[in-house]
Amino acid sequence: MKKKLFFAFGPVLIAFIIVACIFLTPTKTTIKNDHLIEVASSSLSSSVVQGTTFTNSALASNQYLPMFGSSELKRFSAFHPSVLAYKYNRPYTPFLIGDAGTQSLTHFSIMNSNEKQLAHKKMVFIISPQWFVPKGIKDDYFEAHFSKLQLYNWLTTTQHVTTYDQYYANRLLQFKNIENSAKLTTLLEQVADGQALSKKQKNSLKLERQLLDKEDMLFGSVSTLFDSNLDKIHSYEHDLPAKADSNEWVKIADKIGAKNTSNNELGIINSFYNKNLRGHLKNLKGKQADWDYTKGPEFADFQLVLQQMAKQDSDVLFIIPPINEKWTNYTGLSQEMIQNFAKKITLQLNSQGFENVADYTTNAAEPYFMQDTIHLGWKGWINVDHSLQHFLKNDTKPTYHLDDYYLTEEWQQS
């Protein structure tokens, strides 16, 4: 009888022991495999956005240049920064961080979890005007990129609660998936009230964080391999001339652009047009006339990112892409409004010491600057490369002077 029961529950016991050994031993979670990190750098995989292992491991070396952004990073073409870096053996490889729907809050969370590795480094941040809708980031987008691991990192490392921490806690409490968790709600309400977590609270979170850390390390790698974009990137290298030459590039961009946007009058890449617009284009005519990107919580969320950059002493190149003018003429979206947006965000940046701003919103009418409606295209990326090379050569250290005013409701609505 005893033997029978031993054989029945022995495996359960062994399983518990193995799991405990794997998850509870406090070893470092870094990845040593260079190839895996290289795959991750252009994978835009969820383990890059929601985990910490890859970003930590990659940024520990100086080979990678972090580029924060959103869906445009996914749209590879000949002049995409990753393709250019490989083709011309640049001294850096872009480490792309973002996904469709990653906005300021997500980027804050990622940066905060990697602040040691990002400290004193150069990086690129692409600000999309369409993030700045009146209600800020949508629940779905937030939830899709929400990372418990990163949140726990923030909660366990916050010593003294600042206005920024309070703002962040309050902001998080507005999302459904946070609201649904009684535990997170309690913790965040405490921070929102200005109270840092107690030692005991932190210790219990640290244990859970360790579990999440191990999970990220063990399972992030495989999912990232599935998301590899290296083949795609290398295939685009064939479009480029052997020597980097801007005039030559522009000619090629015109040629590729013309060929790839042939099935519509709006300067939109054929595949995007077929997939997203053909059929219901008529319903969109004039429909975006009253859209506004100049007011809303995203301005304060973005301030949170700026605060994090200042804290870790990053040197940042900001890029503001335009929105395709042929498209906005059709939908009625106001280019003047986009100009106002660019002015407002540039003011927020410059007044606090963030001087490297490449604002392309005046290039909206340039053919093949955009790949479709809102995503940078062939010529757009060529321009980005110019700004980037200039930025990388420039060695003057920025000095930041943050102003909490940019967190206020008044600024959000001004």
Binding site: P11, A15, N180, V222, S223
Partner: protein
Amino acid sequence: MIDQIPSLIPYANPIYFAYVLIALIPLIAYMLWKEKRLPWYQSIVTLVFLYISFGGSSWKQGVALILYVVWQTVLVALYQKYRQKHNQSGVFYASIILAILPLFLTKLFPVFDFHISFIGFLGISYLTFKSVQVIIEFRDGVLKTYKIWDYIRFLLFFPTISSGPIDRFRRFQKELHNAPLRSDYADLLKLGVHRIFIGFLYKFIIGYYLGTLALPHLEKAALDGGLLSWQMLLYMYGYSLFLFFDFAGYSLFAVGVSNLMGYKTPMNFNKPFASWNIKEFWNRWHISLSTWFRDYVYMRLMFLLVKKKLFKSRVVASNIGYFGLFLLMGFWHGFTWFYILYGVFHATAICVNDWWLRLKKKHKNWPSNKWTHALAVVVTFHVVCASFLIFSGILDKLFFN
């Protein structure tokens, strides 16, 4: 205190098993020691796990579940009372319709983009099978007495509540009142643990790699490639295997946990992809569902058609029966064109299969060896995969989005 109780979908997260195991330790120990069941403790465990699944943020589902159980117990009680003295078909059909009504409404509302959150809950389809079955057995006269608590415990048996397997009431009731002998129970425990571990392999490892990692890429490639492309073929294989490993893994959990509690809930899968024809496939795939449809829909429909002599030919009657069965199964999955097409596809396949078997019977000299058997398995596998491709809904995305 109640805030601290986690809310978890059954079997969706490995930690759920740790909770189950801890909760079951007293029950297992007592049954091994006394060879008796511990009904009150089992009820408490059931309530706790129902709360975990239907409390917290999904409390509306919990309310729906309670309303549903009240509805079904009252309905069955009334029908049983009536059936003691009368046996009119009209009343019987009305009871069946009332039993199906909540499910029907939850399936219908999304079609009109209309949502009432107090009707639907996770597992409603499976509970409906249980209640309809009991009404039919009262009608048949196989069931006579109605023990309301037995019935409620049958409905709410928590290991199988979210997605089956669909147990039979009389089988369950017998076990409910008889605990297994110590040595049988020890064997059952070993089997249960084994099944749960195989389930881990199926659902959390193979199912995860296929479903979470590979399928999104395969789907994207298939949508770009179009209907007749090798990418679509790859997606078809990927989706079919995922469907099997995910669902079979889930079923193993449900059966395994039942075993730990001393119940022999029937198995749901038996190497379905080794089937050599469609009929065999349905004997091996989602077995508790197909036998339910066979016993309570197909056989009865056939009986009706033959008795009333609506069709002279048995073959025609049987084919009509198949279409009735599989159309119903299609609608049960959801009121969407591709589920219904999935039903029609399988009905057609099984009619063709019958025709082929009749043809083969006439030609006794046709070859039949291990090679023809292998060919049959391959053909069956592809027919099944094609049906799952319809079932996956990818065609809806391809044609209408």
